[in-house]
Structures are given as C-alpha cells and as structure tokens.
Symmetry: C2
Subunit: 110 residues, 2 copies
C-alpha cells in the first residue's frame, strides 16, 4: 500500500510503541501492525527480524526465548528503560516531522 521509502524510519517507533504495551514476538508484532492499520500497513518478516535484532543490540528491547514444545520457539521482546526514553523521543520527532511536512505543503502564510 505505501512505498518502501515512505515506510522507512517509522518501524522503530511502531515496534517500540507496541512493545511498551506488552511483550510481543516478531511474528506477532507484524500481525499487530497489520491489524491496527486495518491491513494498510504491512512489514515483511525480512524487515521485522533484522529490525528487532538491531533494537535489541541498541538495548532498546530485551529479548528472551520462550520454548513451548512441541511448538516452534518464540522470541519475546520487552521494552527497556532506555527503550522507553527513545520511544518518547521518537514520538515527539514523528509529530514534529508531520507538522513540518504539513507546513511546507501548506504554509501558514504571511
């Protein structure tokens, strides 16, 4: 629905926001985004998993394996204190960005 380019830079924010509500695993995060956007926004697993890895490396998320045989193991992610700070920053940045683009498109004149 939306171009890959437009989507760039928004996934970190979305993942952090979802993981701040509850612990989630990769596949579940993808489904959550799809559900809440009513199918308009979809990120492929080939995008999601590297992103989760990156956020964990940056200590914004903490992952843990959950084994529930004979099911396939899942890796659940929890937001860290640092992740919460980053989330608030990125929320601000996002709304700031949106209002900036808006003001270039339709300048409040004079």
């Amino acid at each position: 629905m939306f171009s890959p380019e437009l989507k760039k830079g928004s996934l970190d924010l979305l993942v952090l926001a979802l993981c701040s509500e509850e612990d989630l695993h990769g596949y579940g995060i993808g489904k959550r985004i799809e559900e809440r956007s009513e199918g308009r926004l979809v990120f492929r697993v080939s995008t999601l998993y590297p992103t989760l890895k990156r956020l964990e490396e940056k200590k914004l998320l903490a992952g843990r394996w959950v084994e529930r045989p004979p099911e396939r193991r899942r890796r659940y992610y929890k937001i860290t204190a640092r992740g919460r700070r980053e989330l608030e920053q990125q929320r601000d940045l996002w709304s700031h960005y949106v209002s900036t683009i808006t003001s270039v498109l339709a300048p409040r004149n004079a």
Copy 2:
C-alpha cells in the same frame, strides 16, 4: 534535524507541491523547503539534483534552462499535467499514511 531515514519518500511530494505553486530551480527549491520549515527540514543538493532529474525523466516535471549572463545558468522546473495528478495522489497517500501510523500508535480501541 530529522534522520535521513525518516525523510525518505517525502521529497517527491514536497518538490511537486512547490513546483505546482510556481516555477522553481533546484537551489531555490532547497531554500523554499528550508524557509517554510523554519530550518527544521533541509535536503542537501546531492539529494535535490538527482531527484529533479528523476522527476523530469518520469515526466512529472518539465525543466528549462534560463540563461542570464553573466550569471550562472539556472534550470527552472514546471509541473506537468501528469505531475499534478501524481501530486494529488501523493498528497492523499501522505495523509493516509500519517493517519495509519497514528492509529497503530494509539488505536481507537475496543
């Protein structure tokens, strides 16, 4: 101010919108964006010029050289009919995208 990733995918929309108001040259477009965003949004010339070339190749913009000796020549860009259609599409896409991200961040619940 904003990360390169967040900015990706928005420049086409901005350029088309500005060129739909008046004919502009590359350097001027950069300055316009900077002015209207009050310095918060800046695209480098190494981003702008390839973008203009691309939009012209896609026939969304029509460029023409304006020589005013002894000044450096300028290439002015005018939006095409096709460009206007694309602009309206991208405006819709943008507002749609913003509301989609918003709804994932803060779902209208139940």
